[in-house]
Symmetry: C5
Subunit: 302 residues, 5 copies
Amino acid sequence: MLLKKKIPISYVFGKVKYEISFVLIYATLIGVWDKYFHTINIHIPLSVPMILGTVLSLLLAFKSNQAYDRWWEARIVWGAIVNDSRTLTRQILNFMADPYVSVNVKNFQDRFVNRQIAWCYSLGQSLRNQIPTQQLDKYLEPHEMEFISKHDNVPNALLQLHARDLKNILEEGQINKIQQLALDETLTRLCDSMGKCERIKNTVFPATYSLYIHFSLFVFILLLPFALLETFGLFQVPMIATIALSFFLIEKMAIHLQDPFENKPTDTPMTTITLTIERNLKQMVNDNKIPEKVPADKFYVL
Amino acid sequence: MLLKKKIPISYVFGKVKYEISFVLIYATLIGVWDKYFHTINIHIPLSVPMILGTVLSLLLAFKSNQAYDRWWEARIVWGAIVNDSRTLTRQILNFMADPYVSVNVKNFQDRFVNRQIAWCYSLGQSLRNQIPTQQLDKYLEPHEMEFISKHDNVPNALLQLHARDLKNILEEGQINKIQQLALDETLTRLCDSMGKCERIKNTVFPATYSLYIHFSLFVFILLLPFALLETFGLFQVPMIATIALSFFLIEKMAIHLQDPFENKPTDTPMTTITLTIERNLKQMVNDNKIPEKVPADKFYVL
Amino acid sequence: MLLKKKIPISYVFGKVKYEISFVLIYATLIGVWDKYFHTINIHIPLSVPMILGTVLSLLLAFKSNQAYDRWWEARIVWGAIVNDSRTLTRQILNFMADPYVSVNVKNFQDRFVNRQIAWCYSLGQSLRNQIPTQQLDKYLEPHEMEFISKHDNVPNALLQLHARDLKNILEEGQINKIQQLALDETLTRLCDSMGKCERIKNTVFPATYSLYIHFSLFVFILLLPFALLETFGLFQVPMIATIALSFFLIEKMAIHLQDPFENKPTDTPMTTITLTIERNLKQMVNDNKIPEKVPADKFYVL
Amino acid sequence: MLLKKKIPISYVFGKVKYEISFVLIYATLIGVWDKYFHTINIHIPLSVPMILGTVLSLLLAFKSNQAYDRWWEARIVWGAIVNDSRTLTRQILNFMADPYVSVNVKNFQDRFVNRQIAWCYSLGQSLRNQIPTQQLDKYLEPHEMEFISKHDNVPNALLQLHARDLKNILEEGQINKIQQLALDETLTRLCDSMGKCERIKNTVFPATYSLYIHFSLFVFILLLPFALLETFGLFQVPMIATIALSFFLIEKMAIHLQDPFENKPTDTPMTTITLTIERNLKQMVNDNKIPEKVPADKFYVL
Amino acid sequence: MLLKKKIPISYVFGKVKYEISFVLIYATLIGVWDKYFHTINIHIPLSVPMILGTVLSLLLAFKSNQAYDRWWEARIVWGAIVNDSRTLTRQILNFMADPYVSVNVKNFQDRFVNRQIAWCYSLGQSLRNQIPTQQLDKYLEPHEMEFISKHDNVPNALLQLHARDLKNILEEGQINKIQQLALDETLTRLCDSMGKCERIKNTVFPATYSLYIHFSLFVFILLLPFALLETFGLFQVPMIATIALSFFLIEKMAIHLQDPFENKPTDTPMTTITLTIERNLKQMVNDNKIPEKVPADKFYVL
């Protein structure tokens, strides 16, 4: 997630440097050719590119809208993961019957909560195409690590371990049947959130649509010099560059927003969110080893 | 689903080849007629087609929006099918009381999970108007194949078999009443997803609306040469072709997006999603015969 | 619901014949008057109607959007009715304890499922202002027919009969308390769907808004000839007719979409959907008298 | 809610009579001044107000959209109140164990259902800033009237009485624990609907936004005469009045839609809806004193 | 939340005073330079800034839309907090078995309800970056104050205390297992609302997008004088100021709406809402110390 402050100019314009260079060279060539050789006779009335410009504006507005919706949905899903992680912890802490505050129950709860933290990390890492089991040994027991190593989908395997634990404590009578239902519903919501992330990650935004916008944008830019040449001469170069810059920047922004799990500065800040979850959950179980907040020293957080 | 890379140009332009040929011939005829016979006196000010162009842009933006929403809803529904298949498997594995890990229970669970995989395949096949029972004998028992062969709606019949199994294990005491409720709710969600797919499949996008947009688009194209003829002469032909191409491509894209279950490259990738479900579910039940991932060697996945 | 094919031209243009006739006569009169009497001195620059045209386009786009949303919501609600009818049947078939497959239980289930089919028919008929009890005697018992005849709201009365039956089988011990909850939740969802249909049926789209759009559209059409007269002379008549046609068609389409329960070709196809429900439900209870699919021999289905 | 027919012209134009009078006087003054004194030299090209006009159109479209959403949400909430009132009645009638159809149970049910009707009336009245307890003595017992008289929020107090009754019949064994859960969930949904109405009632639409649109609209109207004066002379007066009328009417409509609980003709028809609820509920409990439908003899229903 | 009346002009224009001053000086400088030195030869046709103006209008409309959605979602979440606080109180009052209306139960209920009020205050204060425990000692017991002082996330800690209390009364047999489920679901909804507020608070609106709109707006303003100079001379200054004012005001409004928890006049009125909750809840438990409504004597409520 980009932060409000400190976004370097180089980051903003670096995204469109090839496109803008091409436009500058193209517009200059036409301007110079016209000035010194006077052989360009094509002068387009400004209203022709304006028709294309209106259509393009609408298409870009539509695309920005859909891209924003994907980005915002990704954030909503991770917000739900925060909520359900807290709910799961609250339930596991306050449902278990525990006549004398026993070491066994406390150990079980700690292990369960640590596994939930591991679930968040592994989901984030697998969405970013990193090794999903990386650093999970801090939170999991060896036999759990071995279990998940046999699965393609690590977060799904962790949910299964959760469910197996619930089955055990139900059979031991530490939770009742209704409480198992409530806990299972929380697992189901976590499973849904996981699936929603995978959906956003794996669904390509309609590719012909992106193609077509890119194509129209280039036609629009290629026509523009012929419409402005007569009035402005070489002064058209900065104007075309400015207009092109606007359109290219919006297009790029939409492209970044629509894929929020790519390990880029515009990502949903999954690592930061998971750290918050870890801090919250560990305070809830009175764990002392609470990790420090990471200071936001860059122009983005991951 | 179209993939980001490798979309052949022939695919993109093949969609509109008749329309574009017609526009090229039409614009050329008028241009040639005007150049050599000078008998065309109708010159329309550019602002007349511009009014139509603005209306058309808004209508196409609106239609693209609704088409995108249908396509995205279809994808959301299949995402929910992934989630609920995993949830159903997690529940059937971790709800059943099983004092000694018995062969019976394991067999029951395997059969149940295989039936869920069959449900996904049969839903995808019936949405694509293929034989819904095709290849299901890999996952179902003969008596189940016989049962579903009597039903029009195969996925619905499979849900009924699921429910009958749940009734049996409830009566045998292997799940409790509350667990039956939780499992039945998962079946209800699968039933809802199935119905939502059928709704998208069977609901024709308002037909007069599509008709009208097509009609306005042709009026717009037919007027355009008369507006550009005076300024551009024969050079109007490529310009009109370019503008027409933009509009036709958007219209086609909307038409493809709005029907996502037609066995076309723009479909919701139901086969791929079902394969993912099969792999996930079989790993959850420790099945060894996990099918290979299919490599994406085309420009789309089905 | 209009089908994709076979929509007769007369249907499309019949909707706006009065409006278009008026526009043709009006534009011709002005054109002729101007040509032969030369006394019309009012020539409006085209940009004045263009301002109105832009506003109108936005208003029509907005209205189409809301109308489409109502139409789509109506379809979604009927999709939910399909799903919940199947769910109710699945539950009633697989919840009831039935140590020996008894005739009594089978009879009860058949009667219950037939009543659900009757519910769908009566809801559709009452939304279309038809006699809601028409043809229900095929599905209901005489004492049920008598009960519902005392109620204004027939579908609501049928839900009450459902609920009464559930109370009876709970008291007889054929379902347990949790299953009653699950069945009651399905009834609640059906009750919600019914209420949503009534809401769409009974809520008039903001009337001043429709009035205002109609008024602006006429002002726009009345101004248009004065803007085109100078350039086109009598050739303005077909152009104005074409532009007016576009706007009137969109307006009509929105009006039709926004009221989807009026027994018109653009209706939500409630009869067809109910027939599908009947076929599905009867197959689920092994009923032999399954009604035939009705062939779509018109350009619409009801 | 305005009905489709019979909206008097005076109602439509009465909303904007001050604005339109001002515009007429202003435009006439400028026109006359220009005609007889020829001292106005400011002639603005039409494209300057057109920029403002485009922005204004978009802002008004956006505002209409949000206002419509508030109005539609208010209607959806009241639709949900209809549904949940029916559901509550169905549940209270069919959950209560009643070995012999006793007078006590029947009395309890009647009192409960009457209280639900009272809840609907009191909610509607308090949203319209009327006395919330008005006419409730027809439906409530004296001790209930006394209880609610001590509360600011009368509908909330009635829900509490509902909940207390449920507690009593649970303790008396007339409903079981699961049924209390189902009934309590219905109460929770009613509580949510009440809160949603209060949210819409109490949330001011962003005030700076309304202010700004009003301000831009006036700037636009004030500029318009200078743009049209040169071409039209005094004929500009009716044209400006027409254009201003369009914009003012949309603005007013949005203002009315966004506050649907103000005892105005554009309100959500809460009184009519509550009457429908009363009729439905009384038929469900076999009450004979069913109130008559009120004929719609005005151009609106409240 | 800004109220409808009494918004001081200084508040409205104070938001954009630097921007407008800059525009006034810039436009005046160019106007004066042109009038007295006649050395400015750049005259841009008005349609060039119009292209930018159309794109800008669409972008601002899109941004206003997203900002409004964030603001409205924040209000919806706080509306849900009102509803769930009432529901929680209704449940805790009417679920607890209490054969003789005992002092213990009454004390427990009072403490529970006070803690819920404290939860609302602490959530509001922590969202506004104030000390979250401020003034909570009025509602909490000393040992509760001590417990929450150890937590970063105070509202989350309070929910945990709620859950612990529920566990205790379940073990003491004052509520049954099903009622614990219902109460736990209410806690889960409160936990969700809390997480949604944190999501809105912590998610920066796509920063490049805001940057880019700001940049385009400045380019548009910088070009405008050159387009209007020729026609208007120095009279362009007020016109440009007016147009710039419109755009800057919308931009500012969007920026304020999108961050509704910043202790500014445009905030979601969390303090006022919490006061309403406090009054409602205390009346429900018959508490006498009901705080007074705070009169709205400013142009906003917090």
